[in-house]
Protein backbone atom coordinates (compact mmCIF):
# COMPACT_ATOMS: atom_id res chain seq x y z
CA UNK A 1 0.00 0.00 0.00
CA UNK A 2 2.71 2.43 1.05
CA UNK A 3 6.22 2.05 -0.26
CA UNK A 4 9.24 4.25 0.33
CA UNK A 5 12.30 3.71 -1.85
CA UNK A 6 15.63 5.34 -0.97
CA UNK A 7 13.96 8.41 0.49
CA UNK A 8 16.29 11.23 1.43
CA UNK A 9 15.13 14.40 3.17
CA UNK A 10 17.25 17.38 4.15
CA UNK A 11 16.74 20.37 6.40
CA UNK A 12 19.16 22.85 4.89
CA UNK A 13 22.49 21.09 5.02
CA UNK A 14 21.41 18.45 7.47
CA UNK A 15 20.37 15.13 5.99
CA UNK A 16 17.63 13.88 8.27
CA UNK A 17 16.72 10.85 6.18
CA UNK A 18 19.66 9.19 4.48
CA UNK A 19 17.95 6.88 2.02
CA UNK A 20 15.31 4.85 3.77
CA UNK A 21 13.15 2.18 2.22
CA UNK A 22 10.13 0.59 3.82
CA UNK A 23 6.69 -0.67 2.98
CA UNK A 24 3.34 -1.06 4.66
CA UNK A 25 0.81 -3.59 3.37
CA UNK A 26 -2.96 -3.23 3.55
CA UNK A 27 -4.46 -4.12 6.92
CA UNK A 28 -1.14 -4.12 8.74
CA UNK A 29 0.05 -2.26 11.78
CA UNK A 30 3.70 -1.41 11.15
CA UNK A 31 5.78 0.45 13.68
CA UNK A 32 8.87 2.55 13.27
CA UNK A 33 10.90 2.72 16.46
CA UNK A 34 14.07 4.53 17.36
CA UNK A 35 15.62 7.09 19.64
CA UNK A 36 14.96 10.81 19.69
CA UNK A 37 16.25 12.53 16.57
CA UNK A 38 16.53 9.34 14.52
CA UNK A 39 14.27 10.78 11.83
CA UNK A 40 10.95 9.13 12.67
CA UNK A 41 8.83 12.27 12.61
CA UNK A 42 10.64 13.48 9.50
CA UNK A 43 9.66 10.23 7.82
CA UNK A 44 5.99 10.84 8.54
CA UNK A 45 6.14 14.50 7.56
CA UNK A 46 7.83 13.51 4.28
CA UNK A 47 5.06 11.01 3.56
CA UNK A 48 2.42 13.66 4.31
CA UNK A 49 4.20 16.08 1.98
CA UNK A 50 4.95 18.77 4.55
CA UNK A 51 8.70 18.34 4.28
CA UNK A 52 10.05 18.34 0.73
CA UNK A 53 11.82 15.19 -0.34
CA UNK A 54 15.38 15.48 -1.65
CA UNK A 55 15.52 12.22 -3.55
CA UNK A 56 13.81 8.85 -3.70
CA UNK A 57 10.28 7.76 -4.36
CA UNK A 58 7.11 7.28 -2.35
CA UNK A 59 4.34 5.10 -3.72
CA UNK A 60 0.83 5.00 -2.34
CA UNK A 61 -1.42 2.42 -3.96
CA UNK A 62 1.06 2.29 -6.84
CA UNK A 63 0.91 6.04 -7.48
CA UNK A 64 3.88 8.26 -6.85
CA UNK A 65 3.12 10.91 -4.26
CA UNK A 66 6.49 12.35 -3.27
CA UNK A 67 5.85 15.58 -5.18
CA UNK A 68 2.17 15.84 -4.35
CA UNK A 69 0.69 18.72 -2.29
CA UNK A 70 -0.34 17.89 1.28
CA UNK A 71 -4.06 18.36 0.62
CA UNK A 72 -3.94 15.99 -2.36
CA UNK A 73 -2.17 13.42 -0.21
CA UNK A 74 -4.96 13.60 2.36
CA UNK A 75 -7.46 13.32 -0.47
CA UNK A 76 -5.62 10.23 -1.74
CA UNK A 77 -6.20 8.59 1.64
CA UNK A 78 -3.31 9.25 4.02
CA UNK A 79 -4.03 11.11 7.21
CA UNK A 80 -1.86 11.78 10.19
CA UNK A 81 -2.19 12.35 13.91
CA UNK A 82 1.08 14.18 14.48
CA UNK A 83 3.47 14.30 17.37
CA UNK A 84 2.24 16.49 20.21
CA UNK A 85 -1.39 15.96 19.08
CA UNK A 86 -1.76 19.51 17.82
CA UNK A 87 -5.40 19.94 18.64
CA UNK A 88 -6.74 23.34 17.56
CA UNK A 89 -7.01 24.86 21.05
CA UNK A 90 -9.68 27.43 20.22
CA UNK A 91 -11.93 25.08 18.25
CA UNK A 92 -14.43 22.88 20.03
CA UNK A 93 -14.08 19.09 20.01
CA UNK A 94 -16.82 18.95 17.40
CA UNK A 95 -15.14 21.59 15.22
CA UNK A 96 -11.81 19.78 15.48
CA UNK A 97 -13.51 16.65 14.17
CA UNK A 98 -15.21 18.64 11.39
CA UNK A 99 -11.82 19.93 10.31
CA UNK A 100 -10.68 16.30 10.07
CA UNK A 101 -13.43 15.80 7.50
CA UNK A 102 -12.53 19.03 5.67
CA UNK A 103 -12.19 17.42 2.24
CA UNK A 104 -15.40 15.43 2.50
CA UNK A 105 -18.84 16.64 1.47
CA UNK A 106 -20.96 13.62 2.39
CA UNK A 107 -22.72 15.12 5.42
CA UNK A 108 -24.64 12.00 6.33
CA UNK A 109 -21.55 9.80 6.29
CA UNK A 110 -19.62 12.38 8.30
CA UNK A 111 -22.37 12.26 10.94
CA UNK A 112 -22.13 8.47 10.95
CA UNK A 113 -18.36 8.57 11.42
CA UNK A 114 -18.75 11.02 14.30
CA UNK A 115 -21.19 8.66 15.97
CA UNK A 116 -18.69 5.85 15.56
CA UNK A 117 -15.99 8.00 17.14
CA UNK A 118 -18.18 9.09 20.04
CA UNK A 119 -18.95 5.42 20.50
CA UNK A 120 -15.25 4.61 20.53
CA UNK A 121 -14.39 7.51 22.85
CA UNK A 122 -17.46 8.34 24.98
CA UNK A 123 -15.37 10.89 26.85
CA UNK A 124 -15.15 13.04 23.72
CA UNK A 125 -18.90 12.98 23.34
CA UNK A 126 -19.27 14.46 26.82
CA UNK A 127 -16.89 17.28 25.89
CA UNK A 128 -18.08 17.87 22.33
CA UNK A 129 -18.71 21.60 22.82
CA UNK A 130 -15.65 22.22 24.95
CA UNK A 131 -12.61 23.98 23.47
CA UNK A 132 -9.90 21.54 22.38
CA UNK A 133 -7.32 23.36 24.47
CA UNK A 134 -9.12 22.53 27.71
CA UNK A 135 -8.87 18.76 27.25
CA UNK A 136 -6.43 16.58 29.17
CA UNK A 137 -3.49 15.00 27.38
CA UNK A 138 -5.21 11.66 27.01
CA UNK A 139 -8.40 13.21 25.72
CA UNK A 140 -6.43 15.30 23.26
CA UNK A 141 -4.71 12.17 21.96
CA UNK A 142 -8.08 10.48 21.49
CA UNK A 143 -9.29 13.57 19.66
CA UNK A 144 -6.15 13.71 17.49
CA UNK A 145 -6.63 10.10 16.37
CA UNK A 146 -10.35 10.65 15.86
CA UNK A 147 -9.73 13.79 13.84
CA UNK A 148 -7.36 11.85 11.57
CA UNK A 149 -9.99 9.12 11.19
CA UNK A 150 -12.60 11.67 10.13
CA UNK A 151 -10.83 11.96 6.78
CA UNK A 152 -11.75 8.30 6.19
CA UNK A 153 -8.17 7.47 5.37
CA UNK A 154 -6.92 4.24 3.87
CA UNK A 155 -3.69 4.66 5.80
CA UNK A 156 -3.40 6.21 9.25
CA UNK A 157 -0.09 7.69 10.37
CA UNK A 158 0.35 7.98 14.13
CA UNK A 159 3.27 9.86 15.62
CA UNK A 160 4.08 9.11 19.27
CA UNK A 161 0.54 8.55 20.53
CA UNK A 162 1.95 7.66 23.97
CA UNK A 163 3.88 10.91 24.37
CA UNK A 164 3.31 12.48 27.78
CA UNK A 165 0.53 10.09 28.78
CA UNK A 166 0.22 8.03 31.93
CA UNK A 167 0.83 4.28 31.49
CA UNK A 168 -2.85 3.64 32.07
CA UNK A 169 -3.91 6.16 29.42
CA UNK A 170 -1.25 4.83 27.06
CA UNK A 171 -2.66 1.33 27.37
CA UNK A 172 -6.14 2.65 26.67
CA UNK A 173 -4.98 4.47 23.56
CA UNK A 174 -3.13 1.42 22.28
CA UNK A 175 -6.21 -0.74 22.86
CA UNK A 176 -8.14 1.71 20.70
CA UNK A 177 -5.52 1.62 17.96
CA UNK A 178 -5.78 -2.15 17.94
CA UNK A 179 -9.56 -1.93 17.78
CA UNK A 180 -9.49 0.53 14.89
CA UNK A 181 -7.18 -1.82 13.03
CA UNK A 182 -9.22 -4.94 13.62
CA UNK A 183 -12.71 -3.45 13.35
CA UNK A 184 -12.19 -1.04 10.49
CA UNK A 185 -9.31 -2.92 8.84
CA UNK A 186 -7.42 0.34 9.03
CA UNK A 187 -3.82 0.18 7.89
CA UNK A 188 -1.65 1.89 10.48
CA UNK A 189 1.91 3.15 10.37
CA UNK A 190 2.98 3.91 13.90
CA UNK A 191 5.98 5.89 15.11
CA UNK A 192 6.88 5.31 18.74
CA UNK A 193 9.62 5.70 21.28
CA UNK A 194 7.93 3.19 23.52
CA UNK A 195 9.34 0.28 21.53
CA UNK A 196 7.93 -2.48 23.66
CA UNK A 197 4.31 -1.33 23.43
CA UNK A 198 4.61 -0.51 19.75
CA UNK A 199 6.09 -3.86 18.79
CA UNK A 200 3.58 -5.76 20.87
CA UNK A 201 0.77 -4.05 18.98
CA UNK A 202 2.31 -4.32 15.52
CA UNK A 203 2.64 -6.97 12.90
CA UNK A 204 5.98 -5.76 11.65
CA UNK A 205 8.52 -3.19 12.69
CA UNK A 206 11.43 -1.07 11.51
CA UNK A 207 14.24 0.26 13.67
CA UNK A 208 15.68 3.63 12.79
CA UNK A 209 19.00 5.18 13.79
CA UNK A 210 20.50 8.46 12.59
CA UNK A 211 18.44 8.63 9.43
CA UNK A 212 18.94 5.00 8.44
CA UNK A 213 16.77 1.94 8.82
CA UNK A 214 19.03 -0.47 10.64
CA UNK A 215 16.74 -3.39 11.29
CA UNK A 216 13.40 -4.70 10.12
CA UNK A 217 11.30 -7.76 10.65
CA UNK A 218 8.28 -9.34 12.25
CA UNK A 219 7.38 -7.52 15.44
CA UNK A 220 7.59 -10.68 17.50
CA UNK A 221 11.07 -11.36 16.18
CA UNK A 222 12.22 -7.80 16.90
CA UNK A 223 10.95 -8.10 20.46
CA UNK A 224 13.35 -10.98 21.06
CA UNK A 225 16.24 -9.53 19.04
CA UNK A 226 19.24 -8.95 21.27
CA UNK A 227 20.21 -5.60 19.78
CA UNK A 228 16.67 -4.24 20.03
CA UNK A 229 16.38 -5.54 23.58
CA UNK A 230 19.56 -3.83 24.61
CA UNK A 231 19.01 -0.53 22.82
CA UNK A 232 15.26 0.04 23.09
CA UNK A 233 13.67 -2.30 25.54
CA UNK A 234 16.13 -1.83 28.36
CA UNK A 235 16.25 -5.51 29.11
Amino acid sequence: MLKLIDVETCYGNIRALKGISLNVAEGEIVSLIGANGAGKTTTLMTISGLVPISSGQIFFNNKRIEKTDPDKIVAAGISQAPEGRRIFPGLSVLENLEMGAFLRADQREIRKDMDYIFDLFPLLNKRRHQAGGTLSGGEQQMLAISRALMARPKLLLLDEPSLGLSPLMTNQIFEMIKKINSEQHMTIFLVEQNAYLALKLSHRGYVMENGFITLEGQAAALLTDNNVKKAYLGI
Binding site: P70, S79, P82, R86, L91, M99, F102, L103
Partner: protein, 300 residues
Protein backbone atom coordinates in the same frame (compact mmCIF):
# COMPACT_ATOMS: atom_id res chain seq x y z
CA UNK B 1 -25.81 66.39 27.45
CA UNK B 2 -26.54 67.04 23.81
CA UNK B 3 -22.91 67.85 23.22
CA UNK B 4 -21.87 64.66 24.93
CA UNK B 5 -24.30 62.67 22.78
CA UNK B 6 -22.94 64.23 19.60
CA UNK B 7 -19.40 63.41 20.60
CA UNK B 8 -20.43 59.90 21.53
CA UNK B 9 -22.08 59.26 18.15
CA UNK B 10 -19.16 60.85 16.33
CA UNK B 11 -16.80 58.58 18.22
CA UNK B 12 -18.79 55.45 17.47
CA UNK B 13 -18.98 56.43 13.79
CA UNK B 14 -15.27 56.99 13.55
CA UNK B 15 -14.63 53.86 15.62
CA UNK B 16 -16.80 51.73 13.33
CA UNK B 17 -14.61 52.66 10.39
CA UNK B 18 -11.44 51.98 12.38
CA UNK B 19 -12.90 48.63 13.34
CA UNK B 20 -13.71 47.70 9.73
CA UNK B 21 -10.15 48.40 8.68
CA UNK B 22 -8.64 46.90 11.83
CA UNK B 23 -10.35 43.58 11.04
CA UNK B 24 -8.15 43.25 7.96
CA UNK B 25 -5.00 43.81 10.00
CA UNK B 26 -5.98 41.42 12.72
CA UNK B 27 -7.19 38.62 10.43
CA UNK B 28 -4.00 38.68 8.40
CA UNK B 29 -1.92 38.85 11.55
CA UNK B 30 -3.84 35.93 13.02
CA UNK B 31 -2.98 33.73 10.06
CA UNK B 32 0.43 34.95 8.88
CA UNK B 33 1.78 36.86 11.89
CA UNK B 34 2.36 39.66 9.42
CA UNK B 35 1.42 43.31 9.70
CA UNK B 36 0.04 44.05 6.27
CA UNK B 37 1.17 47.65 5.97
CA UNK B 38 -0.38 47.91 2.52
CA UNK B 39 -3.84 47.41 4.03
CA UNK B 40 -4.44 51.15 4.45
CA UNK B 41 -3.75 51.60 0.75
CA UNK B 42 -6.41 49.00 -0.08
CA UNK B 43 -8.86 51.17 1.82
CA UNK B 44 -7.70 54.21 -0.13
CA UNK B 45 -8.03 52.35 -3.44
CA UNK B 46 -11.55 51.35 -2.45
CA UNK B 47 -12.45 55.00 -1.89
CA UNK B 48 -10.88 56.07 -5.20
CA UNK B 49 -12.66 53.35 -7.12
CA UNK B 50 -15.96 54.43 -5.61
CA UNK B 51 -15.25 58.03 -6.55
CA UNK B 52 -14.51 57.11 -10.16
CA UNK B 53 -17.55 54.86 -10.47
CA UNK B 54 -19.80 57.41 -8.79
CA UNK B 55 -18.59 60.17 -11.14
CA UNK B 56 -19.17 58.02 -14.21
CA UNK B 57 -22.62 56.99 -13.07
CA UNK B 58 -23.58 60.55 -12.19
CA UNK B 59 -22.44 61.66 -15.64
CA UNK B 60 -24.81 59.10 -17.11
CA UNK B 61 -27.64 60.58 -15.14
CA UNK B 62 -27.90 58.07 -12.34
CA UNK B 63 -28.61 59.50 -8.88
CA UNK B 64 -29.34 58.59 -5.33
CA UNK B 65 -28.94 55.30 -3.57
CA UNK B 66 -28.25 53.39 -6.79
CA UNK B 67 -24.97 55.28 -7.19
CA UNK B 68 -23.99 54.50 -3.63
CA UNK B 69 -24.72 50.81 -3.96
CA UNK B 70 -23.12 50.33 -7.39
CA UNK B 71 -20.05 52.34 -6.43
CA UNK B 72 -19.64 50.32 -3.25
CA UNK B 73 -19.98 47.00 -5.06
CA UNK B 74 -17.38 47.91 -7.67
CA UNK B 75 -15.07 49.28 -4.97
CA UNK B 76 -15.37 46.05 -3.00
CA UNK B 77 -14.48 43.89 -5.99
CA UNK B 78 -11.66 46.15 -7.05
CA UNK B 79 -10.14 46.37 -3.58
CA UNK B 80 -10.52 42.62 -3.07
CA UNK B 81 -8.65 42.04 -6.32
CA UNK B 82 -5.89 44.37 -5.12
CA UNK B 83 -5.69 42.68 -1.72
CA UNK B 84 -5.56 39.27 -3.37
CA UNK B 85 -2.80 40.38 -5.77
CA UNK B 86 -0.75 42.10 -3.08
CA UNK B 87 -0.62 38.83 -1.15
CA UNK B 88 0.30 36.80 -4.22
CA UNK B 89 2.99 39.24 -5.35
CA UNK B 90 4.50 40.56 -2.14
CA UNK B 91 3.91 37.97 0.60
CA UNK B 92 3.43 34.51 -0.85
CA UNK B 93 6.95 34.25 -2.34
CA UNK B 94 8.28 35.13 1.13
CA UNK B 95 6.27 32.53 3.05
CA UNK B 96 9.42 30.69 4.17
CA UNK B 97 11.60 33.80 4.56
CA UNK B 98 12.57 35.34 7.92
CA UNK B 99 9.76 37.40 9.42
CA UNK B 100 11.35 40.73 8.68
CA UNK B 101 11.32 40.17 4.90
CA UNK B 102 7.53 40.17 4.34
CA UNK B 103 7.30 43.16 6.68
CA UNK B 104 9.68 45.16 4.50
CA UNK B 105 7.85 43.88 1.46
CA UNK B 106 4.58 45.17 2.99
CA UNK B 107 6.03 48.63 3.52
CA UNK B 108 7.29 48.57 -0.06
CA UNK B 109 3.85 47.62 -1.33
CA UNK B 110 2.32 50.45 0.67
CA UNK B 111 4.69 53.03 -0.81
CA UNK B 112 4.23 51.59 -4.28
CA UNK B 113 0.43 51.74 -4.14
CA UNK B 114 0.44 55.28 -2.77
CA UNK B 115 2.65 56.50 -5.58
CA UNK B 116 0.77 54.53 -8.16
CA UNK B 117 -2.46 56.31 -7.22
CA UNK B 118 -0.58 59.61 -6.95
CA UNK B 119 0.65 59.24 -10.53
CA UNK B 120 -2.52 57.76 -11.97
CA UNK B 121 -4.78 60.31 -10.27
CA UNK B 122 -3.50 63.44 -8.61
CA UNK B 123 -1.78 64.61 -5.46
CA UNK B 124 -4.61 67.06 -4.69
CA UNK B 125 -7.60 66.41 -2.53
CA UNK B 126 -10.56 65.43 -4.64
CA UNK B 127 -14.12 66.19 -3.54
CA UNK B 128 -16.09 63.05 -2.77
CA UNK B 129 -19.86 63.22 -3.31
CA UNK B 130 -21.95 62.71 -0.21
CA UNK B 131 -23.58 59.52 -1.33
CA UNK B 132 -25.01 58.84 2.09
CA UNK B 133 -27.31 61.87 2.14
CA UNK B 134 -29.57 60.30 -0.47
CA UNK B 135 -30.51 57.47 1.82
CA UNK B 136 -33.87 58.30 3.31
CA UNK B 137 -34.32 57.33 6.91
CA UNK B 138 -37.54 57.30 8.92
CA UNK B 139 -38.13 60.33 11.11
CA UNK B 140 -37.74 58.20 14.23
CA UNK B 141 -34.07 57.68 13.42
CA UNK B 142 -33.07 60.90 11.72
CA UNK B 143 -34.43 62.78 14.72
CA UNK B 144 -31.62 61.74 17.02
CA UNK B 145 -28.70 60.91 14.73
CA UNK B 146 -27.26 62.26 11.52
CA UNK B 147 -28.23 59.97 8.64
CA UNK B 148 -24.65 59.41 7.47
CA UNK B 149 -23.58 58.49 10.99
CA UNK B 150 -26.43 56.08 11.31
CA UNK B 151 -25.62 54.41 7.99
CA UNK B 152 -21.97 54.03 8.87
CA UNK B 153 -22.66 52.55 12.30
CA UNK B 154 -25.43 50.31 11.00
CA UNK B 155 -23.43 49.01 8.02
CA UNK B 156 -20.37 48.36 10.15
CA UNK B 157 -22.43 46.51 12.74
CA UNK B 158 -24.08 44.33 10.09
CA UNK B 159 -20.71 43.53 8.50
CA UNK B 160 -19.10 42.69 11.82
CA UNK B 161 -21.96 40.45 12.88
CA UNK B 162 -21.86 38.79 9.47
CA UNK B 163 -18.12 38.18 9.72
CA UNK B 164 -18.50 36.75 13.21
CA UNK B 165 -21.19 34.36 12.00
CA UNK B 166 -19.09 33.29 9.01
CA UNK B 167 -16.10 32.57 11.22
CA UNK B 168 -18.20 30.74 13.76
CA UNK B 169 -20.47 28.62 11.64
CA UNK B 170 -19.27 28.12 8.07
CA UNK B 171 -16.76 25.49 7.03
CA UNK B 172 -14.53 28.15 5.53
CA UNK B 173 -14.69 30.23 8.71
CA UNK B 174 -13.74 27.27 10.85
CA UNK B 175 -10.89 26.45 8.48
CA UNK B 176 -9.69 30.06 8.77
CA UNK B 177 -9.59 29.76 12.54
CA UNK B 178 -7.86 26.39 12.26
CA UNK B 179 -5.18 27.80 9.95
CA UNK B 180 -4.67 30.73 12.35
CA UNK B 181 -4.20 28.37 15.29
CA UNK B 182 -1.89 25.82 13.65
CA UNK B 183 -1.09 26.19 9.99
CA UNK B 184 0.90 22.98 9.64
CA UNK B 185 -1.80 20.90 11.30
CA UNK B 186 -4.37 22.42 8.99
CA UNK B 187 -2.25 21.26 6.05
CA UNK B 188 -2.13 17.75 7.51
CA UNK B 189 -5.92 17.70 7.42
CA UNK B 190 -6.04 18.60 3.75
CA UNK B 191 -6.91 22.27 4.17
CA UNK B 192 -5.46 24.23 1.26
CA UNK B 193 -3.72 26.90 3.33
CA UNK B 194 -2.88 29.13 0.38
CA UNK B 195 -6.51 29.32 -0.58
CA UNK B 196 -7.51 30.19 3.00
CA UNK B 197 -4.89 32.94 3.13
CA UNK B 198 -6.14 34.38 -0.17
CA UNK B 199 -9.70 34.43 1.13
CA UNK B 200 -8.56 36.16 4.29
CA UNK B 201 -7.02 38.94 2.22
CA UNK B 202 -10.13 39.18 0.05
CA UNK B 203 -12.46 39.51 3.04
CA UNK B 204 -10.20 42.01 4.81
CA UNK B 205 -9.86 44.11 1.66
CA UNK B 206 -13.60 44.09 1.01
CA UNK B 207 -14.28 45.35 4.54
CA UNK B 208 -11.65 48.07 4.18
CA UNK B 209 -13.14 49.17 0.86
CA UNK B 210 -16.60 49.52 2.38
CA UNK B 211 -15.05 51.51 5.22
CA UNK B 212 -13.33 53.69 2.62
CA UNK B 213 -16.52 54.44 0.71
CA UNK B 214 -18.46 55.22 3.88
CA UNK B 215 -15.93 57.55 5.45
CA UNK B 216 -15.10 59.28 2.17
CA UNK B 217 -18.79 60.09 1.68
CA UNK B 218 -18.98 61.28 5.27
CA UNK B 219 -15.85 63.44 5.16
CA UNK B 220 -16.30 64.59 1.58
CA UNK B 221 -12.77 64.48 0.17
CA UNK B 222 -9.98 62.01 -0.52
CA UNK B 223 -6.41 61.92 -1.74
CA UNK B 224 -3.76 59.26 -2.27
CA UNK B 225 -2.47 59.62 1.29
CA UNK B 226 -5.65 58.90 3.30
CA UNK B 227 -4.73 55.22 3.54
CA UNK B 228 -1.66 55.97 5.59
CA UNK B 229 -3.42 57.86 8.36
CA UNK B 230 -6.41 55.55 8.48
CA UNK B 231 -4.11 52.55 8.31
CA UNK B 232 -2.04 53.67 11.29
CA UNK B 233 -5.17 54.41 13.30
CA UNK B 234 -6.76 51.07 12.43
CA UNK B 235 -3.54 49.28 13.22
CA UNK B 236 -3.50 51.06 16.57
CA UNK B 237 -7.07 49.89 17.12
CA UNK B 238 -6.10 46.32 16.30
CA UNK B 239 -3.20 46.39 18.76
CA UNK B 240 -5.38 48.09 21.34
CA UNK B 241 -7.97 45.34 21.16
CA UNK B 242 -5.38 42.58 20.94
CA UNK B 243 -3.92 41.86 17.54
CA UNK B 244 -5.12 38.55 16.13
CA UNK B 245 -8.42 38.82 17.98
CA UNK B 246 -11.52 39.57 15.88
CA UNK B 247 -13.71 40.94 18.70
CA UNK B 248 -10.59 42.77 19.87
CA UNK B 249 -10.33 44.65 16.60
CA UNK B 250 -13.96 45.68 16.81
CA UNK B 251 -13.70 46.80 20.41
CA UNK B 252 -10.32 48.47 19.82
CA UNK B 253 -11.77 50.47 16.95
CA UNK B 254 -14.67 51.73 19.04
CA UNK B 255 -12.49 52.58 22.05
CA UNK B 256 -10.07 54.48 19.85
CA UNK B 257 -12.87 56.33 18.05
CA UNK B 258 -14.50 57.38 21.31
CA UNK B 259 -11.21 58.47 22.84
CA UNK B 260 -10.44 60.66 19.85
CA UNK B 261 -13.90 62.10 19.72
CA UNK B 262 -14.04 63.04 23.40
CA UNK B 263 -10.49 64.35 23.45
CA UNK B 264 -11.30 66.53 20.45
CA UNK B 265 -14.58 67.73 21.88
CA UNK B 266 -13.62 68.45 25.46
CA UNK B 267 -9.97 69.40 25.13
CA UNK B 268 -8.80 70.40 21.68
CA UNK B 269 -8.78 68.92 18.23
CA UNK B 270 -5.03 69.55 18.17
CA UNK B 271 -4.65 66.74 20.64
CA UNK B 272 -6.66 64.13 18.75
CA UNK B 273 -3.66 62.04 17.76
CA UNK B 274 -1.88 62.63 21.05
CA UNK B 275 -4.71 60.98 22.93
CA UNK B 276 -5.08 58.15 20.44
CA UNK B 277 -1.45 57.19 20.71
CA UNK B 278 -1.19 57.91 24.43
CA UNK B 279 -3.96 55.37 24.87
CA UNK B 280 -1.97 52.90 22.82
CA UNK B 281 1.13 53.45 24.95
CA UNK B 282 -0.85 53.00 28.16
CA UNK B 283 -2.32 49.74 26.91
CA UNK B 284 1.08 48.50 25.77
CA UNK B 285 2.53 49.24 29.20
CA UNK B 286 -0.22 47.79 31.35
CA UNK B 287 -1.75 45.13 29.12
CA UNK B 288 0.67 44.43 26.27
CA UNK B 289 -1.50 41.69 24.76
CA UNK B 290 -4.32 44.20 24.21
CA UNK B 291 -7.77 44.46 25.75
CA UNK B 292 -9.06 41.12 24.47
CA UNK B 293 -5.80 39.57 23.32
CA UNK B 294 -4.42 36.47 24.91
CA UNK B 295 -0.86 36.51 26.13
CA UNK B 296 1.19 34.76 23.50
CA UNK B 297 1.71 31.12 24.21
CA UNK B 298 5.04 29.54 23.60
CA UNK B 299 4.70 26.79 21.05
CA UNK B 300 6.26 23.52 22.17
Amino acid sequence: MNYFWDLFLGGITRGSIYALIALGYTMVYGILELINFAHGEIYMIGAFTALIVASVLTMHGLTGVAVLILATIVAVFYAAAYGFSVEKIAYKPLRQAPRLSPLISAIGMSIFLQNYVLLAQTSDFLPFPNLLQDVLLPEAISGWIAPSEFIIIFTAAVLMIGLTLILKFTKMGKAMRAVAQDREMAMLLGINVNRIISRTFIIGSALAAIGGVLIASHVGRINFYIGFGAGIKAFTAAVLGGIGSIPGAMLGGLVLGLTESFATGYISSDYENVFAFALLILILIFKPEGILGRSSQQKV
